[in-house]
Symmetry: C2
Subunit: 236 residues, 2 copies
């Protein structure tokens, strides 16, 4: 089994509304001498996707009522509320704090909302890279979510293109020849987590290449594979 | 920022009760010409740790009453129950399915229980490697857990040695110079997830090297950093 490489893409500079992220990534990767190759999976953080896709909205960070209203507008269901914090289900089906409304890494006076359709954002980047250099890559859009029960945040996938979000190993046999029962692996979330290890939160690295993934995972996937239906969910 | 490498360790063979896993890892890494080096983090799956630490117990897999009794004996709190599935809090404070009692990758007639103290297991492996080759490594013991709301399983940490489980970036400023509010990153969980990408579930790779992690994370850590106190938890 081959090794995996996780390579940060630095020097992308400031992303602005309307920017073509795919083109910026290709240029930054070339200028640091790690050209993008077939079989690569690019992990792109939500922040630059939201900026490029005009998902910044004006918000006075000290105006808590306006902030609450903005969060409510992105919410389809409130799961829990405590003080300033509200755990919500977004239109996409993600459960996260404050409906993904983000005040960090944006200028004061603005908030970043989640991309409207993370899969579409990922496809747009994938298509731009194919158009620029003729290489098919997978793309994962990542964001930073909390979890119940476990302390600390991890990065997860909020959009994918050209790669499975969940790989189903059910029915394959384990190394004792017994049938594996529960082995649907959320590979897109694990890829997002791996990429976060080279990004940090305060280092301004918004993209990483994950190189060497199992080729069988490269297919037409969707982040919907990661959304647990409400009727299957014991905690909603 | 340097790249990360995730290198599977193959050819460890069958682990048996009482085996010194640290020694087996050193030998397997040397025989595949990827010797362990300072700054490496070894991710070791729970299954081989439980086997080595005599945490296999006899269980007829078709005896559902005996299985339920075994799960109950590992449980301090039941969060949800549906049919065959029970979501429990273990003695360690982990919330997972069936109190971590595992019937896959063990011989029929047996079940694998979680290590009694994952940090101690990790320290034992770290100490054995230092004794064998004089190299200080970090160790993460990993297991495969489900999550509420999100479909698919991911690997998380159930024990650490020589590395932080959660890295606290609070108070550092983000790339706009603003203070980051919520940036405690569960790096041990992200390291476990990254390693799973080269392990698969059916390939018999129980150990991976994660190479190139931020040196500032290498300190005396504990998996307790990852346990969210009940009083802070909105979902328990």
């Amino acid at each position: 089994m081959p090794s995996l490489g996780v390579i940060p893409i630095e020097g992308m500079g400031e992303v602005r509304p309307g920017d073509a992220i795919g083109t910026l990534i290709v240029e930054a990767a070339q200028s640091q001498a790690t050209p993008i190759a077939t079989g690569d999976c690019l992990v792109v953080t939500q922040k630059i996707v939201s900026k490029a896709e005009h998902r910044l909205v004006e918000l006075d960070h000290s105006d808590f009522a306006a902030r609450a209203e903005l969060i409510a507008s992105e919410t389809v269901r409130v799961l829990r509320r405590r003080g300033d914090l509200v755990i919500t289900e977004t239109r996409h089906g993600f459960v996260c704090a404050n409906a993904g409304v983000d005040l960090s890494n944006v200028d004061d006076g603005y908030a970043a909302l989640l991309p409207i359709d993370g899969d579409r954002s990922a496809h747009r980047i994938r298509n731009a890279i194919r158009a620029a250099i003729g290489v098919d890559v997978a793309v994962v859009i990542s964001d930073t979510f909390g979890r119940p029960w476990r302390h600390g945040l991890t990065d997860v996938a909020i959009g994918v293109a050209g790669i499975a979000a969940v790989v189903d190993l059910r029915g394959q046999s384990d190394d004792r020849g017994q049938e594996l029962r529960v082995t649907e692996v959320a590979v897109a979330d694990e890829i997002a987590a791996a990429a976060e290890l080279v990004m940090g939160k305060a280092t301004g690295v918004p993209v990483a290449i994950v190189r060497g993934l199992d080729p069988s995972w490269f297919r037409d996937g969707s982040v919907h594979e990661l959304i647990r239906p409400v009727e299957d969910d014991l905690f909603r």
